[in-house]
Amino acid sequence: MGDTTAPRGQAQALPVEQRWSYRWRLARSGLLMTLPALLVIAAFTVYPFWYALNESVHLSSPILGRRFVGLDNFRNVITSPYFLDAARTTLIFGVIAVPVLVVLGVLVALLLNERFPGNTLLRAGMLLPWAIPASVVGIIWKWVFLDSWGALNAGLYSLGLIDSYISWLTTPWLARFAVIVAFTWSQLPLVAILLLAALQAIPDELYEAAAIDGASAVARFWAVTLPGIRPMLVIVTLYEILMALNIFDITYAMTGGGPGTATSLLTYYIWAETFKMLNFGNGAALAVVIALLALAFIAAIIRALPKEALLGEHA
């Protein structure tokens, strides 16, 4: 544990009392330099969270004023069929979209790890779906899947593959499929890039040793590749679960939560409950519920990360 982050050499050359004042000066600088960022972040995190908590145990109405209702909002929200519906839809999304993303991510990373003409173009091009705003992702895929004159219907019809247009966005399961495709399109680049970085970190010697032992390509994948990228797989999976919990822009622009409530995820439901129904108490209770859910995942992520990974003592 060499303490190379603080300039120790000079401090030790000084007499004790000067060494202390030197350390104090550095510590004071550290506090002062982090203070602006910390204040801003705390003001926008701690206070809002307290505000949401406070709001979630009150009922505000224009006639009766504001009164304390304890956990009533939570009970209303959690027993509401709309909430259960949105929670189920979110679960379905996560259970389908996250494994699809991770498996495709591994395949894409394996492909981009090979040498072939056009590889650089694919690597640079994959940044586009990731870089454009998620609401625009929703619009682009809405144009692809649109029922009455969408590009997919027009293309399939022109090729003679279908006789009449398919109602992609007005059939519940097809609409869910369409949203998952759009979500995958926007998230796959990051997943693939992170997994590619992990792949490239696996030493070649391991592959060579496995090849000398006569392991087939498939056997090498299970014995060398998969263990090598496992930490990154865990991180990516948890990150994408968080992202799936956060989907809002895509469904807002693409389906508006419909047809019916087929693509109304929890985030969309919170937004609708708060800003369409103007029920702040229920909305705040929902926000607290989803934040606690996310915190559970965050705890899992932190446990999955190697200790001292970010602020470790080695420079």
């Binding site: 190379t4 982050t5 300039p7 550095l26 510590a27 550290g30 506090l31 330099m33 982090t34 602006p36 960022a37 910390l38 972040i41 705390a42 926008f44 995190t45 809002p48 969270f49 505000y51 949401a52 492909l111 590889n119 173009l121 640079a124 994959m126 940044l127 586009l128 454009i132 705003p133 609401s135 619009i139 682009i140 144009w143 009455s148 004159w149 590009a151 027009a154 022109s158 890039i193 590619l196 490239q200 970190a201 968080l242 956060n246 809002f248 822009d249 807002y252 985030t267 937004w271 800003f275 909305g283 926000a287 989803i290 934040a291 996310a294 915190l295 995942f297 970010l310 602020l311 420079a315």
Partner: protein, 296 residues
Amino acid sequence: MRRRSPAQRALIAAGAVLLALFWFGPFVLVGIGSVIPEGNLLSFPPRWFANPPFLGNYRYIFTGEIPQTYLERGALRSMISQEVRLVPRAMLNSVLIATAVMFLSLTLGSLAAYAYARLRFPGRVATFNFILISRLIPTVALAIPYYAIVLRLGLLNTHWALIAIYTVLTLPFSILVLTLYFRTIPAEVDEAAQVEGASPLQVLRHITLPLSLPSLVGTGLFTFMLAYSEFLFGLLISTSARTRTLPVTLGTLSTNPDVAWGLMMASIVVGSVPTLLLVIPVWRFMVRGLMSGAVQ
């Protein structure tokens, strides 16, 4: 390089083609959609390529000149959404906000990052973890309080509110990336300057920042992109059409059932220009840096 069997080569080629279709296909379709006259777009069976490419949609966005193809069929005129004319204005709003966020986030971020990378002070690890975790709270959980706070401060419909919110949302990321980068600079450089009596602030300004230029550019552009793309808070805070950001203008347009899709597509192409310009530098400075960082 290993020799590949024909089957392996076919597999790689097929994968590459499929991937290229998936990545680029939707963009190509948007490009095509933006130059097809509305009548051809809506017709059944599709008549996409019946006419030569048509640039009237683009002209309308910038000049307000209603395309001939809409005049031909009177019924379609109502479908031209006036809001499409707000796209250039919305782009300007987004660029202004994102630029301010970029500078604020880099300034506050590099100050804090230097302290986390180089100085020891009480609460260092705890506050660093707090900053990172703060960003993992789902944004929708913060939406109601943010809205209420902005409303009370009288900042609804201003760019100030969005600049503040986006700075908070991007700051943890800037601090993380810059801290990791600053730590890769040998500490001996700092120590030499400190022997000369330089304060940490002076070291940061005259030594660390100039040495970190690639990382600063990458982080800054990435911050810009995040702020340029944000949707939820933009939707809540900007209720008037004039102050809206680009994602909000486009997002609300798409929920309008009467929108003219040709115009919508042309708006997407126009609105994506800043992203297209930024993608290559972001890739060069940031993603490659992340990847080489992970390799070490």
